[in-house]
């Protein structure tokens, strides 16, 4: 299973195996990793699953759809490498992905 690393804003890091087909958000929520709220349950309607993807990974991810970009307008402190983790589906290609959580989700 692909390994995903979630880094909390305070630097605490969690490496988790996440099954293919789940989203990066679901990987965090199912493993009780703090920092991803996912209030809307993954329907791209809340922007509380926001995180910063490590730069070298950003271009390897499937591109954002316009709905995700729109929702990112509402995220807390969006930056260049911001993504909504509910919109990233885990595949073998994402083995080793690192995401950093913002200081809060809103």
């Amino acid at each position: 299973m692909p390994k995903i690393t979630y880094i909390e804003h305070n630097g605490k890091s969690h490496q988790i195996e996440v099954a293919n087909g789940l989203t990066v958000m679901e990987g965090a929520v199912q493993n009780n990793i703090p920092g991803i709220d996912a209030d809307c349950g993954g329907s791209c309607a809340c922007a509380t699953c926001h995180s910063y993807v490590e730069e070298k990974w950003f271009d390897k991810l499937p591109k954002k759809e316009s709905a995700e970009e729109d929702m990112l307008d509402m995220a807390f402190e969006p930056k260049k490498f911001s993504r909504l983790t509910c919109q990233i589906t885990v595949t073998d290609d994402l083995d080793g992905l690192v995401v950093k959580m913002p200081s809060k989700q809103g």
Partner: protein, 340 residues
Amino acid sequence: MIKTDVLVIGAGPVGLFAVHQLGVIGLKAEVVDNLDKVGGQCIELYPDKPIYDIPALTVCTGKSLTENLLEQIKPFKTNIHLNERVEEVIKDKDNWKVTTNKKKVFLTPNIIIAGGVGSFEPRKFPLKEAERFENNGIYYSIKDKNYFKNKKVSIFGGGDSALDWAIELSKISEVTLVHRRDEFRGAEHTAQLARKFEKEGKLKIKTPFQINSIEGKKNIEAITVKTEDGKTEKIVTDCVLGFFGLIMKLGPIVEWGLNLEKKTIPVNTENFETNKKGIFAIGDICTYPGKLKLILSGFHEGALAARGCFKLARPNEKYRFEFSTTSKSIQEKLGVKKSD
């Protein structure tokens, strides 16, 4: 002080249907919601999106579902107190005393919390200084546009609210519209109008910029904005408006002495009562083994919680189960049959 059989907190789909279930068994309800309209997530987050899993409705939208629910509870003439957040819940002998942020007080033996993921609140600027200036230079909504007359106003956001207000206020104030990227997500024609105003010099547009700092001692004097690449610019301004949509905040619910599991309230599945007698929780906010955050599950939860409320609201009466098809009393309450 308003006395009632049941106070329903939250006018989302689940709270609205609970009013129906209370109504058919003869209990009077009052509803409070922080939003300026009923419908909860269905109206705030996806009014025009299709829903395919409401029993017996092949498809409906968040908006049409809400409208139908309102129609269905019309016979009960329930008061819905909008733009009010329930702040405080305290025990008062056999009742609960419930106070809103507008200091309205309810006295009731039963509370049904149908609060979803919490009350909808404006999303705020991520800067610490923004708190200090909130309501004194920094605003997240406009009550009276004339307040901004002849002032220098910076508006942040890329949706309809930001665009509409930028255009509207540009007629009476000096407006700069700031957005994190070049594209606006608001209606196409509004975005075009804003660009037209920009060309005509009626409005300044700064993209792709985000807020970086706020300057000023007692009042805001200027702000700086920056791009992703760290380029900064200063904007002299009197007021800053942020339109970043709404976020759901559990808020005061955490202070009512209820057990909480993550952001949800554990309940029993017999009548959806919480750890406090007379306080029930239904819909997205409740949790129990197997809970599904679906509207249809919330409807069922409301039906059972309503029966749970009966005991405390009518201690000397016995609840009788009846079908709406055949019950004269239910049909009278719905106004579909004249009592003889």
